[in-house]
Symmetry: D2
Subunit: 261 residues, 4 copies
């Protein structure tokens, strides 16, 4: 069941920089500077095989992980990284069956990861104000086979979401403070939210608004990822490093004060 | 359905440092230095309510997320953090239905997160060489209601796992290089593995062994998390920060070279 | 000539956390929880000796470096760290003979390092608006023997400095943007300035003002320092780490545009 | 006295990436893609002037700081950065009059900064095993006008230094542990040393050797520098960042145990 199919995404891998994500159906011959790889000949074989190009170079044919797919989707906007998505998923408690509200859809990278995690019984409701933008995301999600777990909506989320009692929410818009109230209305009580903000100014404004709307456990943070070049006798951190992607902001909805217990 | 029950874990929250994770059944009266909270009176109320202690202090009663539960479990060993677990989950592609192999069980913190993500149809097979240690983990997992998705096994994973064709694998032992071969045997072709190593020496030895066993896309990395104190007009990074938890190492199983295509 | 004198500062050292900076004259007997050390018996001995307390514990008697002295001075306000001071010194080009303008004096920690570097022919002119504050700094600087290289002044630096043609300048006040114009007037053409700002908001306001006043090569940055626990076979980064001290901001004064060449 | 001379190094500055370090004597016309700048016309003018190229582009003519000069020297080997040099200078207590021992000379970048700080009465004694390498450094140091404060020596520092009672020492060689004993012999009692090691393995071996040779206050650390893009309303850390330069290792020489006091 882990066989390469005509319509499977296949990750042809040489190293961290030279990797191709293609489908045999769409790319029967993969032309690289390392030679040509006959993709149709791979159909029916196991993922994980090591193959040789026409120029004698060895490549590995891997089954793409959700990380590979998400990174491909996000390449255009360069904002969302697995390091950030992973922590968001844990802090939001996303799992099979979760109902997630998101705005904006963007390239669909975050949407894709969340859809992957809520399957097969959950749903990601994702809003975008820009229909053309969302059309791209829709195709992206379709291409990676996750459309069943995503409901696309066009609309101004500042005016509210149609969904209620959502398990968790994600804000990835330029003015997230304008959507905090809508988010609160859409979340179930105690439900967590996350917001992605590139600048400190956005984080500052957002956090103030979240506290005003009664969210608690409000926190902002950033994640730095550094590779270690682990080589026998000469191990050292990588000198190439991404310095910043975005601040991640979290909080949980509360209800108005109850009568004293 | 998001109501507080007798047997629910409840997160009583004041701030990042003052939080209590208890069940009304086990702790009918929660005694804190901020006063006493009548937990039984909360049963039947919504999660998310703000309540007042006998001393007039306001607390919020939250539904714990998987992060809250995992952090509670890991508190004794202090190794696994949500920032690390989140990235591991994404890079391993864990989702509903995944079959995960893990060694060692440790406190069960990693096991718990993975079980949470594979439910309701997946399974985490977790090995530990120490029966007493695993007994603690078993109780932890039971307490957080995830036992159905975990199979506990006592055994020396250096000698092999009983499972085959696992979707992903996790190594969290002191000598992970000794288990890489067993891991390879247990994984499905192209299946990803992750290993947690606190020291650079372990990462170095492990990575060499993984490459020797034919794993590709081998990488080691570390994640640094820093809080931002986002306050209007006086935003600054937190001066308190964890400097190191562990290096995370990743790779994917390959098959022996196929005949040239 | 490297002998311990009655009036020398002496660093009694056990480890990073247990260290005492005292003078034999003022502390003839050093009482520690590791036993008592007879400081007067050390007079005339070489710095660097290993000695034994009354309880049999071994300690080393070191000649304090300027870092030891500065860290002692800054302990009260906790803002300035050697990592920051070192880069500031390099970027400002401070050296023997330099004439430095500074505001505010604060605890005198920055002043002390700069005085140390400009000796024996340079001078640090340091302003503070608060006479009591500066009195403390004056004593600090005196105690570490650097008074000859410091001129203390009480005054509101927003209204201007009395000095002109300074080689470099340092701002460490809460509203540094208010002093940028004064700084420009006091600096020699092309002279570099540095400003220490704990918050992003301060850095933002300051940088805007510096550009407005014609400073070029304007940059803001922060420095993170992490220890490595280097131990044979078990090397790992320290898990204790300071997350933030301050943003350092730099720029260089320019002259009004010349006629086209 | 802060005038541009025929033989002055001049930093022609546009922004962080577009900067040229030249002398009017050697480069009478500076050709850039922003147009041509007549350098000889600048002679006699003040540093800090803003000038216009033949294409109408505005550039600033700055007096280079020691940082500018050092960065230019180190560009070839890419190892030493101001952030590292600054902390080393502070921790070694380098100042006017200091006598510093160094091996190896390398490109002379570290040598240059130390020479700059010890002037006019101190001296940097710098060893290299490779005469050709040192020839390059010698020219570099000459070019930046610091030759009077540097004594160049060819020799294998593993076999010992000719100097004694040095105030501080610097190791920047591939096998620093082989030179620790020589360093101890050359330092004054209590004298501090620093060693630059790119890998964790080197730090590990070095630190063990330093402790064995009786150095105390031994510590290893790394410095990360991140720029902040401080812009009104849209401040964020830079996404470009150097992930690693080297570990810095420090310690202080002690004397054999004295008789109990």
């Amino acid at each position: 069941m882990n066989k390469i199919a005509e319509d499977s995404y296949v990750l042809v891998y040489r190293d961290r920089r030279r990797r191709w994500l293609v489908k045999p159906k769409d790319t029967p011959k993969l032309h690289t500077h390392l030679g040509i790889l006959d993709m149709t000949a791979l159909v029916g074989q196991d993922f994980g095989v090591n193959v040789t190009t026409t120029m004698g170079d060895e490549l590995t044919v891997l089954e793409p992980t959700i990380e590979d797919l998400v990174m491909k989707l996000s390449r255009k906007t360069q904002v969302i990284y697995p390091k950030d998505l992973g922590l968001m998923a844990v802090k939001l408690g996303v799992r099979s069956g979760s109902r997630i509200i998101e705005t904006g859809t963007g390239s669909g990278a975050t949407t894709a990861l969340m859809a992957y995690l809520v399957q097969p019984t959950g749903m990601v409701y994702t809003y975008d104000i820009n229909p053309e933008f969302q059309e791209v995301a829709k195709k992206n999600i379709e291409r990676v086979g996750l459309s069943k777990y995503v409901t696309f909506k066009i609309g101004d989320s500042r005016l509210g979401f149609e969904e209620k009692d959502m398990d968790a929410g994600i804000l990835d818009v330029g003015d997230p403070w304008e959507v905090v109230h809508s988010m609160k209305e859409a979340l179930k009580p105690s439900g967590p939210m996350a917001a992605v903000t590139p600048t400190t100014n956005q984080a500052e404004k957002l956090v103030a608004k979240m506290k005003e709307e009664g969210f608690v456990a409000v926190e902002s943070l950033e994640i730095l990822l550094r590779h270690l070049e682990a080589r026998v006798g000469m191990t050292r951190p990588s000198n190439i490093m991404v310095g910043h992607t975005a601040y991640l902001n979290f909080g949980r909805k509360t209800l108005p004060p109850a009568a004293p217990s």
